[in-house]
Amino acid sequence: MASYIIKNIPFEDSKMASSIPVKEKKLMEVKVGELPGWILMRDFTPKGIAGAFQRGYYRYYNKYINVKEGGVAGISMVLVAYVLFNYCHSYKELTHERLHKYH
């Protein structure tokens, strides 16, 4: 992906207008004013979205699970996220079960 192409910016260049096209910067290096343009430049084709999911998955997997001494934290974070996702999804039905006098 284009965002992986990082050129080393010498310290002096950051005082000029950006020398790298907006499209190729990582998110942390995009200035706030350029953010809408950066978002629109992203690859929203199905292949691009699938690539984003795959990169996110491997980033999590290699950091927490695919290590020499992985603990229970790696998988329990996934389960907690699953619980939260289901809670958000059923929030509407759950508002009936609050402890109020009148519903």
């Binding site: 699970i65 290590v67 389960l79 079960e97």
Partner: protein, 226 residues
Amino acid sequence: MNENLFASFAAPSMMGLPIVVLIVMFPSVLFPTPSRLINNRLISIQQWLIQLTSKQMLAIHNQKGRTWALMLMSLILFIGSTNLLGLLPHSFTPTTQLSMNLGMAIPLWAGTVITGFRYKTKVSLAHFLPQGTPLPLIPMLVVIETISLLIQPMALAVRLTANITAGHLLIHLIGGATLALINISVTTAFITFIILILLTILEFAVALIQAYVFTLLVSLYLHDNT
């Protein structure tokens, strides 16, 4: 309360899109594929469990039956993980839906029966009549055996659905009762809470046992027919 009780069993959909597909595919994220000889801890534990279970389950089959090893192991993994994930709060369990269990039971059962009829026709037909029945009883017994054969997939599906649904319902009810009893009398609420804990332990066991039973029965039907 009546409507709320069964609302958790409805298939979840977000803005009309059925996300039940995502929830059915979720357990596969928890089983990564091993890519090396010695993997990380999660995969090693899963490999050890799978080897233990498959040795136990495939011991009774002959060479032909052992070609079903992948199918049986993935079946028990899927049902076990889906049932266990359903015990998390607010989650949706696909195996509570009769449609899904029928979709699992009927093709597997039909596969074993058709295998039996294709490769060992006479022996499969002979299963309809147990040995040593008196002559006048034969017509009735053939009818009874046919019915008991045809009921096998239904029993497989309904058994799984009913067990898991009943367990979830009991947890909902007893949990609601505990909450309602707190204002009335704390001791009774405490007793009900103990019952809830015991029930949850039971549900963990039931989740695994149901997976095992389903797979074991399929393998038995297979053993009959290979």
